[in-house]
Every structure is written in C-alpha cells, then in structure tokens.
Amino acid sequence: MTTPHHWQDARLKKALDNAPDLQATPSATTRNKILKAAADALVKPKSNSSSWWKNILRQLIEKSHFSRNAGFATAIVIICVGVIWTLNNPMNAIDSLVTHNTPPTPVATPPLPRSAPPATETIATQTQLTGHISASSTQAHEIVPDTLQQASTVTPSTTREEQAHLQPVQSPIQQLPTEPTSSTIERQRNHANTPLLQTPPPAPTTNAEPAVQIDEKETRRSPSFEVANSSSGDHTDYVAHDLYSETSIASDSDSGSAPVPQTARGSAAQFEIHTPSTAQTQTHTQTRIDSAETFRQTRNHNSGKLQQNTGNTASTLSTRNHLPGSQILSGNTSTSIPAPVAAQEQMITAVTENTANEVPETYAISNSSTQAEEITPPSAMFDVTPSTQSNQQPQNNTDYKTLIHAIYAWNQLYLSSSYGTTIIDRKSATELQNRLVNIISHAQKSPHTINNNQSAWLLTLYQNLTFLGTITIQGQNWTFSTTHPCMLDCKIPESSSLGGTLNQQDAQALEQSINNLIP
C-alpha cells in the first residue's frame, strides 16, 4: 500500500487555521431544523405501502422544480390571458363575428299548416323550407330539384287545404314544362329562389334585435368614437359613454380643465413640485432632495457597499491647476496627483482664492448622469453656490472659500499638521471619503504600512465624513471633530460632535505613509 500523498503547505495551513471565520456557527434555526430532521428520520416509518400514483405525485411536488415552475408559468399565462381577455372585451369580437356571419336575410318562417300534415308532406314541406332558409344558392339549387320531384309526387295525396297552403310555392313549379331544358330549369330555379333570398323581414324578429343593439354598442366602444370625443373636447360625453377611460375621466373632471393625458398630468405635477412660488423655496426643496439622496448614498457607502472608484474620483480635488495644493511639495519630495479619468458627474471647477469672486463655469451637484439639466447645488444646508444658468452673481464669497478651504485643507493634510476649522459641503466630504478610500486601498496592497491607530483614525474620519456638517482638524496630533446636521429623521442629534485623535508620532508616520503610498 502506497503512502498517501500530502503536499500541504504548513504556512498556508496555519493561515487557514487562523482565518477570521474560524468560529463560524450556523444559526439556531438551522441547527434546530437539522436536529429535528434527524429525529424525524428515526421516528418516521418507511412508507412503502403508498400507492404508485401517490409516489409519483409526491415526487412531482417535492422534488421536481420543473413541474412546479411549469405549473406556475401556466397559471401566470392563464391569468395574463384572462386579463387581456377582460380588458379587450372579447364580446366585441364575438359580437362582430356573429354580426358578420349572420345571414343578410333573417329567417322568415312561412305560415305553417295548423294541423300536422302527413309524414310525406312534412318531409316535402321541410325540405322546401330548408331550401328557402339556406343562404347558399348552390345548396338551394341542389335542393330544388328534389323538392320539385317530391312535391310532384306528393301533390296527389295532399288535401285541398294543404294544397292551398302549399300553393304559393308549388304554383311556379307546376307551370314548368314537361321536359324542361337546363336553361329553363335554371331560370325557374332562380325565379323560385330570388324572392325568398332577397326579401328581408319587415317585422323585427328575435334574431334581428340583438344585432342592432350590438352594432350600437360596438359603435360606442369603438376607438374612433373615443378619438372623436377626445378631439372635440366634450368631456361630458366622454364620461358618460366611454367605458374604457374612467381614469382619465375622473382626473379631467377633478381638474375641470381640458383633457390632459395621464402622462401630461404627471409632468404637470412634477412641474408644480419644482416650481414654487419663490426662487428661494425652489432652491430649498431641491437642496433637501439632493441632501436626502446623498445621505442615503453615503450611508450605503458606510455600510460596506462602497464602490471602488477611487482611482477616478479620488484625485478630483487636487487636480485643479488653480489649486495651490495640486502640486504638493513635502520637503524635497514633489508629489503630483494623477488626473481624474472619469469625474464628469463630480466635476468641480475650482478656483483659487485669488479668483474667488469669479463665477465658475460649472458647479454641478448632479448625482445622476440622466438629469437633463443642471440642478442648482444645495445651498440651504451649506453655503450658497451659484448656478451658471441663472447668470447671477454669487451672493457672497463664502461658497467658494468653503470649497477651496475644504480642498486646500485636504491637500494640506499631506504637508503639515496645522489645520484650521473647515466647513465643507456634502460633495467635498464625499470627495474626501474617496481620497480616504484610495489611501486605504493603497495601504491594503502594502501591508504593515499603517498601524492600527492610523487605521482607526482613517476609518473614524471616513465614517464621520458620511454625516459631515463641519470638520475641524487641528493640532499636532491630528485631532478632528465633526458636527453633523440632521438631514433626515436621523437619530443623531443635531450639532453633536464626533471626532478622532491621532498622536503626533502616528500623525507624522501616517503623513509619511500617505506620501509613500500615493505615487
């Protein structure tokens, strides 16, 4: 017997044994289910006595996902067909078919003899009537000769009274020549059939009434009728008769205005939302919306769903040529930050402190590329930021200075440890977060470049930036504190403060690490 082959790597095995999932345990629910299944397996007797069809049924139900899926799909198809059937009102189609297939000449029942005729005569009469009822001339033509023959044979045995009833039908036949030619027979056939086929019933019959009603109903429900009413703008008639547009009718009636399609009304509603009475209200509403959306996004970031787009967005802040910190000088080391690759959505046209009074070309806080037009950046929560579309001069310079200070403070993070209070807006905070992620990502790829204190400081700063209102970084030990306004129904009270402190040694080491990590 050969020795079993083992090629274990002791280092990998030790690392595997120390992995963080070492103490993984299933949930109590799963554990209970397994133990219960084990107990049931001992208790449950083997049921071999069940019939074959029960076994098949059980297998279909328990094991075959395909059968279940097929049944589910069939049910959905049935429901869909039923809904479509109901919505399209198939009775219209059926009614129209009935209308089209109905013979143009309704049944005109000739007066029948009051007493039952003999069998042979009944046959003759019924045959005759059948020939009259049939709308097909060919059938009528085939029947007529038989009828003629039968009628001629029956005639001698009929009574006078019966003959009197049959007289109108039989009389033209009796006038036929003894040996008629084919042409004369054809003419006589046509002559005999023509009145019966072309004569409409003067009085309404039971078969004729529904056809008329259906036609009227059909007309009311027809799309052309809807279009006509709609284009004429006659809402009253539209409400009264159209069965298919009750929703539109209701809305039109409520508004009391001209008919507006549903989509148009939706747009109107949106327009009302975004068109407040004053421009200030508009800005405030939009700010709240953007802030809430940003809050949700950043909260998702904080919960571990951070997208790794650090390479694109993290360098946005410091790539502006206007910024003094874009070319970072740390001692003798010159550090340049790579240019952003795709930072269209988060583009910030920054200006220097000297050019703070100028209006930036674009200062969009757009969170979505699908927005067709630029949105006024949030100003209620933070500082006022102008929009180029309004071509208005900024109310004050605080907005530019705030942004610049935020960027400059972050750039200064590489240079020194003397910081002042900086109030930054949500977007700048997000940018700072992205920079942090970039730094941490670099540190991740180069283990042991930052210690736990530095990691904790970076993580705390990152988390606080999510709820950021203001940030203060000061002192030699990189103490920062934040206050965060309550944007939604957050549990954190307004103006509460969170922060973190890094000792001077770690701060300097982190600074050096960051400089080394970021090429």
Binding site: W7, Q8, R11, N18, P20, L42
Partner: protein, 208 residues
C-alpha cells in the same frame, strides 16, 4: 441512563444513530458543526454567502437520509469525516453549478477587496495581545480572499487537502476524480495562493 459519546469515534456515533440513537447524532453534529459550515462557506465563497446556511442544512439532510448507506472503514468504506465532507463538497459544487449562470464572473485582481472592509477587519486585530496572532489572523483573512480567486475545483481540492487533511488518494476515491487531475488542481491552486500570499510568506521566510 445516559451514555456519553464524547470519546466515541465518528464512525461509532454514526452507527449508533443508524440504530436509533439520536443523542449520538447530536454529539456527531456538535463535533462537526463549525468545521462543516466553514468548509461550505469557503467553497461557496463570498459571492454565495447568502446561500451558505441553506447548503449547510441540505448537506446534513443528505447525511441523515444516506445514513444507512454509510460504510465504515472496517467494512471497506471511508472515514465518516471523509464521507461527510465528500457529500458537502458535492452539494456545494452542485449549488455553484446551478447558480453559475446567474453569477457574473469578473476578473478579481490580487489583493483587492473593499478597502473599508479590509481596514475594519484589520482593526479587529487590536484585541490580540500577541503580534503573532494578529499577523496570522490577517494572513488568514488574506488567504480567504485569495482562495475566492481560485476556480471552484482547485478551491475544493485545496480546502479538502489543507483543511480536512484528505490525501489525494482519498479525494480521488470519494470524488471519483483521477489522481493526476487532483494533483494538478492542487499544484495550480498552491501556486496561485503562494503568489497571492507572497507578502505574508515573505515575512515568514522559507520555513514551512
């Protein structure tokens, strides 16, 4: 009268359970609960983390249902652990194959993950007093990430070999895979893992 099964082997516990002793199964379950869950969790990887418990339960149900088919080593069969982990392997691989059409396979670069998760997990080292323990925990975390980059077959072979100490012969017999195939899978897996773990292995040196 309660019988203690703490010193009984897995095979004896399984035999007792087949004979109707539920306590034996509970002992067996408690003995392998965490190990089996961790094995399944590692095979499925982070992308299928939500299905770990479901697969785990399915594995135990299969073990329960196949209890009478188990053959102990003295009757020409395999160790219970080998047998059970083969069931776990097959169940997990079946689930991966069933879900493969829904998984978007993206190229995973080395040492790449969510930086925030990484930094959070690294911060959990602080409660370790020993720097060595912190290092190996970090290495274990890194190794788990590296394992997820392996193909399913290589991942399973590596875990069975390193975590469950299954020899290649045992794996070949239980999984019905040729010996050379398993050997190649294991070799490729270890090459990739060593490359992925080079930062940690460099500090340790060549010691094994």
């Amino acid at each position: 009268m309660s019988v203690s099964y703490s010193h009984s082997s897995d095979e004896q516990l399984m035999a007792a359970y087949v004979n109707g002793n539920l306590t034996a199964f509970e002992t067996l379950y408690a003995r392998h609960e965490s190990v089996l869950l961790r094995f399944i969790q590692r095979i499925l990887g982070h992308s299928m983390h939500a299905q770990v418990e479901e697969v785990y339960q399915d594995v135990w149900i299969r073990i329960i249902n196949a209890r009478e088919k188990y053959t102990p080593p003295n009757q020409g069969g395999a160790l219970w652990k080998t047998w059970a982990f083969a069931i776990a392997h097959n169940t997990a691989v079946d689930r991966i194959r069933a879900q493969s059409k829904f998984i978007t396979v993206e190229p995973v670069h080395e040492n790449e993950g969510d930086p925030m998760e990484w930094i959070q997990s690294s911060l959990q080292q602080t409660h370790y007093s020993s720097e060595d323990a912190a290092f190996w925990k970090a290495a274990g975390h890194q190794l788990l990430q590296c394992i997820e980059t392996l193909p399913n077959e290589q991942r399973a072979v590596f875990l069975l070999h390193h975590e469950q100490d299954h020899s290649i012969e045992e794996m070949s017999e239980q999984l019905n895979v040729p010996f050379e195939t398993l050997k190649s899978r294991l070799r490729y897996a270890m090459q990739k893992l060593r490359k992925c773990m080079r930062h940690y292995l460099k500090e340790i040196g060549g010691a094994r």
